[in-house]
Amino acid sequence: MPAADERIIAELGLRRERARSVCDYPNAIRAFSVICFLIVWEIYGRRVDPLLLTYPTAVVQAAWSLIKSGELPRQMLESLTTLAVAFGASVVLGVGFGLVMGRSRVVSAALEPHINALYATPQVALTPLLMMWFGLGFTVKAVVIFLFAFFPILINTASGVRNVSSSTIEVGRAYMASRRQILLKVVFPAAVPFIMAGIRLAIGRAIVGMVVAELFTAITGLGAMLTLYGNLFETAKMFVIVIVLGILGVVLVRATQTLERRMARWKETERAIE
């Protein structure tokens, strides 16, 4: 800093450093905020009728008893198995149909009206009909999750394939690549960023689908536990399940985000569909 500046600073008595503010400690503020909330909840919650509202220590106790009895891990495994099977199916079919639709304008024109109609329909509304068709077991849950997750993957894959620059494909043709090779070695890798963005959107929706299906069928899984303890007015246990579902959501979405960054490092595009 030149001497003149120094002199002016000294003359005017300006302070050198920015005034300290509470905002320099974001995590302290966050912790303070959360702790305040928990304390108020604890004090208030103990006074309210336990049928309506619970309090943090009771939730912790309930969580411990649900884990110890093995009920929570068992139901969670049940939910996650269904989720994995149905989500796997929607990834495979979504990417497969998406590739075909992206490559062929004829197929795309033939399927698009139906896909748009199904995608526009709130899938929740179809749950009662699906329950009538598939019963209350594993199948109906898998179908509901599939319907929730399939469309974002399909639509993203198709638009990713359409976005592949035609010059890349022409280069492939010029080097005598077969149709298969063009699809697998040129088109598919180029569409991966879109596909991954679709998968990230789909995982959140799949969890919603899982909860909806389990809430309504109410036989197995985390959603069924929610219905059960709701009917029993065991509020503390309901909160445990809500928190578990929240954590599950965060973990799965973070996992797909990491996967997305690894598999599609070179491209930052994504399409907002919802």
């Binding site: 009206p113 709130p122 009662p128 809430l215 907002a272």
Partner: protein
Amino acid sequence: MALNALEQEALAEIELESTRPFRLADHLGLVRAVSVVAVISLWEYFGRDVNPLFLSYPSAIARAFVQLLGAGQFMQQARGSLEVYLAGLSAALVVGIVLGLLMGRYRLAEYLLDPFVYALDATPRVALIPILLLWFGLGAPAKIAVVFLSGVFPVLMNTFSGVRTVSAGLVEVGRAYGAREGKIFTKIIVPASLPFIMAGVRLAVGRALIGIITAEMFAAVTGLGALLVRYSSALATDKFFVPVIFLALLGVILTRAVELLEKRFAPWKETERAL
């Protein structure tokens, strides 16, 4: 295309077809129409053979549509649903935009609120429905709460990130011209983050619709969601499809309407955030 004599000759020699062969790709509209007609007629044909308790067919659904719309009861339930929807959605928009602006502009507000916002946003909102029904009963307040919670987070998150992208230069120019905090908000921050806010509103409209249906299906007392449950447990499959189609159309119309608003109010920027 004008061809010179040499080219004409060459064409004639190798007998290239001068007319293009028929290709399906040139008639996409036709393909689309054929596909829709084929699916509907197949559904009609086979649907009549299936037990009507399990699957209905298009003409029966159309008949049920006319019958239900004429009877008035359907419209009454739909109006009930829409009122709850509008109440919850407007609360979500107001709260979401205000909190988003505050959290985007003031770091203290951000740090105080963001643990709760992120935690609630990550929790599937449908999981909260049983608890909300416990607290608010089976009537309108519980449904308004569900719609509110479904709609508030997309708006809040988008507004927040919109405010964050407002360039500091704009705000400093405003300050240099002596604008007060209120003016900075209304004249600089809100207009600059409007495209983001509108994108959030568009997402919220769809989410809130799903919220109201789920809540009504779960409470099963009034509204379109309750009709869905009632018709499906009465095994009236043709009637069941009426609210489904109605809701799908409603969703499309509402989203289109917001898109039009978006183009009107925020035509200068095409950004959006994928939530």
